[in-house]
C-alpha cells in the first residue's frame, strides 16, 4: 500500500471496474474545474490572463488566487467568490460513482473506511523546520514520508530529528541520491544512507543480499527508494491540489549556489545513518 487516490484503491480492490472508474473520472473532470476557468467564466479574467497566472504558478509555491492578486488581476473578494463557486461544484470520486449508480452507498462506506485506515499510516506528522522556512508544511511531506516508508519497506524505526540550516554536503561514505520536485513546489530532495542500510534496502527491494555494500544494485535500490518516497510525496501533493512533477533520481547531492543552504534532517536509527536534505 502507498499514498494513493481513492479511485485507484477501489480499482485495486475490485470494488469498481476500470470502465466505471473512467466514467466517474469523466464526471469529476467535467465538474471540478480550475479556479482560472471560473474567473474566465465570470468575466474577471481573459483566457490569456488566466494562462499568464497558470504559467507563473509553474515556478511559484502559491495558489492561483494568491498569484492573481499579486499580479493585480483579481481582488481578494473575487478570489473568495470564485473559491466558493469551485467548492460548491466540487465532486469527490465516491460521489461521482454514487451519482452514476456505479457503486452502492453501503459498499462505498465500507471501502472508504478501509481506505482511511490504510492511508492513516501516511498522515504527515510534525516536522520541525528552522524558524522562518517558507512553505514548511509542504516541504515536510517527503521528509516525513522518508521515516514512514523506511519503516514500511525495510522495517527499521527511524526517528526524525529537527531540521537545521547547513552548507555541508553529505559525507562520501554514505550512498546519496537526489530527485527534484517541479511545479507548484520547487525543491531538491536528497537522501543519504549508510551502506549497511543501503544493503538492507537492496535486500527488501531487489530481494537479494548484495555481493558488497558498494555493488551497483545497492545504488539502484536506494534510487528506487528515493523514487518511491518522492512519488508518494507527489501523490500527497496532488491530494492537496498541488501539481508537482518529479525527476528520476540521480546519484549525488546538488551543488549549492552561493549563499544558499540545505535544510538537513537526521533520521535517528539503531545502526547506521540516514539524512535528508532539502534544497531550494
Amino acid at each position: 500500500m502507498s499514498v494513493k487516490f481513492f479511485g485507484q484503491f477501489l480499482l485495486e480492490r475490485g470494488a469498481v471496474s476500470r470502465t466505471d472508474l473512467l466514467k466517474a473520472i469523466d464526471l469529476q473532470q467535467a465538474r471540478n474545474r480550475r479556479l482560472g476557468e471560473y474567473a474566465v467564466r465570470r468575466g474577471y479574467l481573459t483566457e490569456a490572463q488566466a494562462e499568464q497566472v497558470n504559467q507563473a504558478q509553474l515556478s511559484a509555491d502559491k495558489f492561483f488566487g494568491e498569484i492573481a492578486i499579486e499580479m493585480g488581476l483579481l481582488e481578494q473578494g473575487q478570489v473568495e467568490e470564485l473559491l466558493t463557486l469551485q467548492q460548491n461544484d466540487h465532486i469527490l470520486i465516491g460521489e461521482a460513482l454514487i451519482t452514476l449508480k456505479l457503486i452502492d452507498s453501503e459498499r462505498l462506506e465500507k471501502e472508504l473506511a478501509a481506505f482511511e485506515q490504510d492511508q492513516s499510516r501516511y498522515v504527515i506528522d510534525d516536522v520541525i523546520f528552522p524558524p522562518g522556512t517558507a512553505h514548511a508544511s509542504l516541504l515536510a511531506v517527503p521528509v516525513d514520508l522518508t521515516a514512514k516508508l523506511l519503516r514500511r519497506i525495510i522495517g527499521i524505526q527511524a526517528k526524525l530529528g529537527e531540521g537545521s540550516l547547513e552548507t555541508r554536503s553529505p559525507v562520501s561514505r554514505l550512498v546519496t541520491v537526489t530527485t527534484y520536485f517541479h511545479g507548484s513546489l520547487t525543491c531538491g530532495y536528497t537522501l543519504s544512507i549508510s551502506k549497511d542500510i543501503g544493503s538492507a534496502v537492496s535486500q527488501h527491494i531487489a530481494g537479494e543480499a548484495p555481493a558488497s555494500p558498494d555493488s551497483e544494485i545497492v545504488i539502484d535500490s536506494v534510487k528506487e527508494l528515493c523514487n518511491i518516497i518522492s512519488g508518494n510525496a507527489a501523490a500527497r501533493y496532488a491530494q492537496l491540489g498541488r501539481k508537482v512533477e518529479i525527476s528520476p533520481p540521480a546519484e549525488g547531492a546538488p551543488t549549492l549556489d552561493s549563499g544558499k543552504t540545505f535544510v538537513v534532517f537526521p533520521l535517528h536509527v539503531a545502526e547506521g545513518a540516514v539524512e535528508v536534505r532539502i534544497s531550494r
Binding site: 500500500m1 502507498s2 494513493k4 487516490f5 479511485g7 485507484q8 480499482l11 485495486e12 475490485g14 476500470r18 472508474l21 473512467l22 473520472i25 516508508l149 514500511r152 519497506i153 520536485f181 511545479g183 537492496s202 527491494i205 531487489a206 530481494g207 537479494e208 551497483e216 544494485i217 539502484d220 535500490s221 534510487k223 528506487e224 523514487n227 518511491i228 518522492s230 512519488g231 508518494n232 507527489a234 501523490a235 496532488a238 501539481k243 508537482v244 512533477e245 518529479i246 528520476p248
Partner: protein
C-alpha cells in the same frame, strides 16, 4: 500452463522484486525484462507475452508511449501499469483511458500484485 509475463522497469531492483513475487506463483513465468519503453516494444513483438507490467516513468520511451505502441500492435494486449512518480492520478487515469487494464502502485504488496494480475488475466477480451 503458466502465463508469460514481460516486466518493464528502468530499475533493476524493481524488476528483481517483481520476479521474486512471481517466482512464488507457478501460474506466472517471466519471459523478459526490458529497462525502457523501446526495449519493451521489441520484446513484446518477439516474446508475445500474455501480460505486460509497465512502469509509467522511464527513460528513452516512457510507459504511456510504450503502452500506445503495444496496443497499436495488439489491441487486446493486457498491460498493467506501475505507478510511483508525480502526477500519479492523472497519468494513471490516462493509462486506463488508453487501454491499460489496471494500475498498481509502489511500494508493492505481493498479494495485491498477484490478485491484480489474476483479475486482469481473467477478464474477457
Amino acid at each position: 500452463m503458466s502465463s508469460r509475463v514481460l516486466l518493464v522497469d528502468d530499475s533493476v531492483s524493481v524488476g528483481r522484486q517483481l520476479e521474486r513475487i512471481l517466482a512464488d506463483h507457478p501460474a506466472y513465468e517471466v519471459v523478459g525484462h526490458a529497462q525502457n519503453g523501446a526495449e519493451a516494444v521489441k520484446l513484446f513483438a518477439s516474446k508475445k507475452p500474455e501480460l505486460i507490467v509497465l512502469d509509467i516513468v522511464m527513460p528513452v520511451m516512457d510507459g504511456l508511449q510504450a503502452l500506445r505502441a503495444i496496443l497499436s500492435m495488439d489491441e487486446n494486449a493486457r498491460v498493467v501499469m506501475v505507478s510511483s512518480v508525480g502526477g500519479v492520478g492523472e497519468k494513471a487515469a490516462e493509462a486506463l483511458r488508453l487501454g491499460a487494464r489496471a494500475v498498481i502502485s509502489k511500494p508493492f504488496e505481493p498479494k495485491e500484485v498477484i490478485s491484480t494480475f489474476d483479475r486482469v488475466l481473467a477478464e474477457e477480451g
